[in-house]
Amino acid sequence: MHRIAHRAFAIAACAVLVTALAACGGDGAGPDRAAVPGVTDTEILVGTHMPLTGPASAGYSKIAPATKAYFDHVNANGGVYGRKINYKIMDDGYNPATTQQVVRELVLQDKVFAILNGLGTPPHSGVLDFLNTSRVPDLFVASGSRAWNAPDRYPYTFGFNTDYTVEGKILATYVRNNLAGQKVCFFGQDDDFGQDSLAGVEQVLGATAVAVKQTYVTSNTNVAPQIGELKAGGCQVVVLATVPGFTALSIGTAARIGFAPTWLVSGVGGDYTTLAAQLGDAKGLLEGMLGVNYLPSAAATDDPWTTLFRKINDERNGGAAFDGNVVYGMSVGYLFVQALLAAGEDLTRQGLIDAIERGGFKGPGLAPLRFAKDNHSGYGGMRMIKVEQGKQDYFGPTYETDSGGGPVNEYPEAPPAPPANGIPSV
């Protein structure tokens, strides 16, 4: 038996050695700043998860590079309180299982200060609990699910998009006022995105007003059966709660079977440039497509925010084609810098959360940001957009409403002009 003893001793010795080495390795960081993960005197490390590949990547893959470009612009002008923002982008392919992996890598291994603008309702739902139990700020989620607005359960999570119920209510208000008497149908993603949007539509039009309801999943790119149902149901108006790839698929499939209703598309899936690129020669199908948005129009020539973002895009984003996704990414970056400034020079995770809960941020958005101690949802309103002669632009007033049964009201306040250098001040 002495051989076993020998082996056991050898293994134990190795184990002790490993422990000792690991313990030594862990003492590298200075004692002062070690208290706040991802923050040093010269840098703030922030991470995100994005679909850079896969069926949902169309358009969305441009958001994070745009945000990074905006941060580069801020960094080149001295950063925030002397700290440069380092934005680490991880691809999750819109697959919740991969999101689990990459977010853990960001938080546990890279020790990011915060997760910013993680994209997608299904992917981000899976990491909500992990981020909040780890007390990592989970800021400005790139999705309009109402799940982000739960300050008691998820105190570290804040939304960015106008939520899908508000969006549904505003789209349905347009239908009620302008397309009365037509048969209204709904085609949505089979998760909180589709369900929240449908809830908003039914809130305004009534629970029985939507004649045909169909859903899709991103892993199945054949939407012909659902579009066929919509056509068979005699739909004249179709509300789409779809990501851009599936908006294009739906409109293209409908054209193939000779189905041409009035399309009303969710803000997250209705960017003209993205859809036109997807449809190619068939982009004429987008003519007359209605939608909603709450950020400066990428096509506008007189909007100072668009001019600013376009300039930064040319200088720091490798001249990526300028569209709604670039505007979105830069608007997120602008709001994050505002939040960092409001949190003060002595940056902590709790300090940042407190600063966002104090609210009062004004930026490129047309609608008000709703942040408060008891409200973690993002923008609270939208304005209708329409494609005319290959150009997508706003029309009519901006509306605001709540996610419940409240009325849909006009919101008269216009966004302020951007600061001259494009960087917010305290």
């Binding site: 082996r7 293994i11 184990a15 739902s125 899976g126």
Partner: protein
């Protein structure tokens, strides 16, 4: 079906240095490994512990699969679906327990056990069909099982919540461990315990009469039948055992990720599992360990490579999702050419040549 010639398991030399009783020997090794890993988890950073736990969860599945494919000669492309069965069972049970006001940590054992039981039942059904099929037909049936998972979650969206999947309610680590105990270390303990249990059971099983039956059926069904072995029963049993292991592995993955979704158990996972055991060394439990390590290490290595090279955004976009698949494929090709016995076969050969040089008297 011409599967690679699996490694034969040598049982002779080890008996000289370790106890003669197979059970005692395996238990002793498991205890030593358990103590070693216990010490290691204390030293590792949370993310490394999480990776270790993931390796352990995958190991349950690869070990089960290597017994089925390597020792019994049945090819399964559907083990990802069996893992999904275990994972969804654990998720549904944990959430039901939490709703019933019993969120305590001890119930996790019940959920995991239930996950294994349900997967065993599913495995028995698939195994019964599989035992009647050979070669490509068997692969086809198991492939269909793997493909059907996302469709099932969409069809039964009321229970399984479509592609968004389900959250898995989990109790925090026991209070006795202190308020700041890293959760990932607790997860690693659970997963490692599950993996060691699986390995001990499988190691004993493969060295028993049943294990010899498995190999006899693999090598020649007619000869096995003449020797009095019930071929069909042996094949179904092998599938059931393998399914149970996959169910535990899937359940552990659900516990690690704190959520389940069909994307985690795609066809790619089933293929990865198969590639992993072939690269590791078909038919050997140690090979299953190498395979599980690779499953976790390769995607991480891909990220590191893209970080180091820092390619332009457009190229990085293309690489990110696909590079790990390419690396896995290339590794498979290289290993098959250079070392058909897999990593474990290579190590065994190296060990033998070293052993021949410094021949230690082993008492034989």
């Amino acid at each position: 079906m011409t599967i690679l010639r699996p490694l034969t398991t040598p049982t002779t030399r080890r008996t000289a240095t370790l106890p003669r009783s197979t059970l005692l020997r395996h238990l002793l090794l498991a205890v030593v490994a358990g103590v070693g890993l216990f010490v290691v988890t204390g030293a590792l950073e949370p993310f490394r512990n999480y990776q270790l736990a993931t390796v352990a969860a995958y190991l349950c599945a690869t070990a089960g699969l290597t017994v089925l494919t390597g020792l019994n000669g049945q090819l399964s492309l559907g083990h990802g679906a069996l893992m999904a069965t275990g994972a969804y069972t654990v998720a549904l049970t944990q959430n039901a327990l939490a709703d019933a006001g019993r969120p305590g940590g001890g119930y996790l054992l019940l959920s995991l056990a239930l996950g294994v039981v349900v997967t065993v039942a599913a495995g028995a059904v698939i195994g019964a069909a599989a035992a009647r099929l050979r070669g490509p037909y068997l692969a086809g049936v198991t492939l269909a099982v793997a493909v059907v998972v996302p469709a099932l979650t969409t069809t039964f969206r009321g229970v399984l919540n479509s592609e968004q999947g389900l959250p898995v309610h989990l109790a925090p680590a026991p209070e006795a461990l202190g308020p700041y105990f890293p959760y990932e270390r607790w997860q690693a303990w659970i997963a490692v315990a599950g993996a060691l249990l699986t390995l001990v059971l499988l190691a004993n099983l493969t060295r028993s009469r049943f294990g010899r039956n498995l190999r006899a059926v693999r090598d020649d069904e007619v000869a096995a039948r003449l020797a009095g072995i019930h071929v069909g029963r042996t094949q179904v049993l092998a599938f059931v055992v393998s399914a149970g292991c996959a169910g535990l592995g899937g359940g552990l993955l659900a516990v690690l990720a704190q959520s389940v979704s069909p994307g985690a158990f795609s066809l790619t996972l089933s293929l990865y599992l198969l590639m992993a055991i072939v690269i590791g060394g078909l038919g050997s439990l140690a090979g299953a360990l190498w395979g599980a390590l690779l499953l976790v290490a390769l995607p991480a290595a891909t990220h590191m490579i893209t970080d180091l090279v820092d390619p332009p955004p457009a190229v990085a976009q293309r690489l990110d999702g696909n590079l790990s698949l390419a690396i896995f494929g290339v590794t498979l090709v290289v290993v098959m050419i250079a070392a058909p016995g897999g990593v474990q076969g290579l190590l065994r050969r190296a060990g033998r040549s070293v052993g021949a040089r410094w021949r230690v008297p082993t008492g034989r």
